[in-house]
Every structure is written in structure tokens, then in C-alpha cells.
């Protein structure tokens, strides 16, 4: 419960959120939220809305969409995730990527005469951030993400006005 105050979350107006006897919460617009019992990286409690989707409530009492805290392949949970870099048979850098299949052996066709090196292992949510940071600054030709090269002055997609999401999100609040 935000700030430990019954009836208020963060700096939201007193009474904006109503705590129900069954443990759920009714929001300012009448929507019902149920706590998942899990928290995001910033320590905010993650709620599930009856109408679908997951939210955290920030210090201003504003609901912000977040990913499901339930761990499966496509969510940003704590599953161990490898960060790897791939090179071709001539030693040219191709890409940085992540893989949740830790400790698997890439097939000979996937490697195709090149090299794959695991450069680290992190919880998936951290691995995604690291991969993105590397891809923004040092993309390979096989990094096709929309943000690849945005912070690399020698890259055709370099954008001097680009603000990485982790900085942008912090300035939004």
C-alpha cells in the first residue's frame, strides 16, 4: 500500500483509491485493481486491472502500464538470460543479442562457421537494457532493431536528439 496510508497511494488525493475488503482496490475512475504481490525494478507494487493489463501506481498516484510480472519467455522477469555477440567466419562483428535458453548449444547452422561469445548473464529485464544500450552504441549489421545505431555517430541511423528510454522515462515524472 502506497506510503502505508489507507485510502491514499503516493501523493494521490486522499480517498482517490478505495481499499475493498477482499484486498482489491477501486481506482479514481471506478476500475478495480488487484495486487499481484510483486514489484517492479523501482519497488512499485504491480497491480492487475480487472479489464486487463498490469499497472504500477507512481508517487503522484498515476497509473503507469507495466509488463506482466509473471515469468515466461516474453516477459521482462528475472529469468537468467544470456547476452551474446555473434561474428562471421572472417571475424566480422554481426550483432549483439540475448537468449533465454541459457547453456544451450547453438546449432552448427546458426553459428555457420562464425563465433558466438557469451559476454554476460543477467536477469532478463537487466539483459534487455544492456543489449539495448550496446545496440544503440555499437550495433552490428544484423542488429535490425529500430534503435540500432541511434547513439553511434558513425551509423546511418545516428540521431543526435535521441533520448534513450531509460533517461526519457525518468524525465517524464
Amino acid at each position: 500500500m502506497g506510503n502505508g496510508q489507507r485510502g491514499a497511494i503516493g501523493d494521490a488525493k486522499e480517498g482517490a483509491y478505495t481499499y475493498n475488503p477482499d484486498g482489491s482496490i477501486t481506482g479514481p475512475s471506478g476500475g478495480r485493481l488487484t495486487s499481484t504481490g510483486k514489484r517492479d525494478d523501482s519497488g512499485n507494487e504491480i497491480y492487475k486491472r480487472d479489464s486487463g493489463g498490469y499497472y504500477v501506481i507512481d508517487d503522484n498516484g498515476v497509473q503507469r502500464t507495466t509488463n506482466s510480472p509473471n515469468e515466461h519467455g516474453n516477459t521482462l522477469g528475472n529469468q537468467p538470460t544470456e547476452i551474446y555477440q555473434k561474428y562471421d567466419a572472417e571475424g566480422n562483428y554481426l550483432k549483439t543479442g540475448i537468449s533465454q535458453n541459457a547453456n544451450t548449444r547453438y546449432t552448427d547452422a546458426e553459428i555457420d562457421g562464425g563465433r558466438i561469445r557469451v559476454i554476460g548473464e543477467r536477469p532478463r529485464n537487466k539483459a534487455v537494457q544492456i543489449e539495448r544500450n550496446i545496440t544503440e552504441r555499437h550495433p552490428g549489421p544484423d542488429n535490425k532493431e529500430s534503435w540500432a545505431g541511434k547513439r553511434d555517430p558513425s551509423h546511418p541511423k545516428y540521431d543526435p536528439n535521441y533520448i534513450p528510454p531509460h533517461i526519457k522515462n525518468n524525465t517524464d515524472d
Binding site: E82, Y87, A89, E90, G91, N92, Y93, A102, N103, R105, Y106, T107, D108, A109, I111, D112, G113, G114, R115, I116, R117, V118, I119, G120, E121, H138
Partner: protein
């Protein structure tokens, strides 16, 4: 020659830096791509994949293992698994000898499989060219790895 393709999966940056140069040299010698094979009737080439254990990934075995037909290519492939203690703090001479021995073991198993399948065009030429390639591997200087 167009005989063996070498791949490598390394469990750490350090493992990749150490083994990467040998991997590059082996491909320079044994994997000069061309349209048709001089050695096999229908197989494209043989494949050896180094699995090098390191800080982030441990393959938990050693030597030649998992000889199999590649799932998506007309290629037979085998893993050469290298534990961390085999590459860490070793000299070039020690590493070359160790890798050469492992490559020979892998090649022998692959060659045997190709013979069983009736794929080898000329067994003597295959053996002779392999030995020539291994001599080069033991004597040529190591190429530098590109980038970081």
C-alpha cells in the same frame, strides 16, 4: 581447400579472445568456399564446432562429441568441447597442440562417417589434404581478431 567449416561458441569474452584466433586460422585453411566439393559426392563439407567453457557458460565435458547430421544442411557436424582449464594460462605451443589433437579426433570420426555413407570421392586425397592443412595450422602465425 573447401573441406571443414569451423564454428565456435565461447562461454566468456576471454575464452573467445583466446580460442578465436585459432578458429579464424582453421577456417582460412580448411574453409575456402567454392561451388562444389572436391571431397564428397553430395555432402557440402564437414563441420566442427568448438564449445569453449568460460565464466558464463560451462559445457561440462571435453573432447569430440555429438556427431550428427546437421538439421538444416547437407553437412555432418561434431562438437569439440574445451574445458576452461585447457585454454586458461596456456602458451601458444600448448594450445596449438591441444587444438590440433582435438581437431584430428573430430576429423577421424567425421571421415569415418562419410566413408560409411559412401560419400568420400577419394579417401587418399581427403587424408593428404587434411594433413597438409594441419601442417599449416601448426606453423602459420595467428591472425588478429577484429574489433573488440
Amino acid at each position: 581447400m573447401y573441406m571443414i567449416q569451423f564454428g565456435a561458441q565461447s562461454g566468456s569474452t576471454q575464452a573467445d579472445k583466446i580460442i578465436g584466433s585459432y578458429h579464424l586460422l582453421l577456417n582460412k585453411i580448411f574453409y575456402q568456399k567454392q561451388d562444389e566439393s572436391d571431397y564428397f559426392k553430395t555432402l557440402l563439407f564437414l563441420s566442427i564446432v568448438f564449445r569453449v567453457s568460460g565464466k558464463h557458460q560451462n559445457f561440462e565435458s571435453e573432447g569430440a562429441e555429438f556427431l550428427q547430421k546437421s538439421a538444416s544442411r547437407n553437412v555432418y557436424t561434431i562438437d569439440f568441447t574445451i574445458p576452461q582449464e585447457r585454454w586458461q594460462n596456456k602458451t601458444d605451443v600448448e594450445l596449438r597442440s591441444y587444438i590440433a589433437e582435438g581437431v584430428r579426433s573430430c576429423f577421424d570420426l567425421l571421415k569415418q562417417k562419410a566413408i560409411e555413407l559412401g560419400e568420400v570421392i577419394d579417401e587418399d586425397k581427403l587424408e593428404r589434404d587434411f594433413e597438409y592443412g594441419m601442417t599449416q595450422f601448426m606453423t602459420l602465425s595467428l591472425p588478429e581478431l577484429k574489433g573488440r
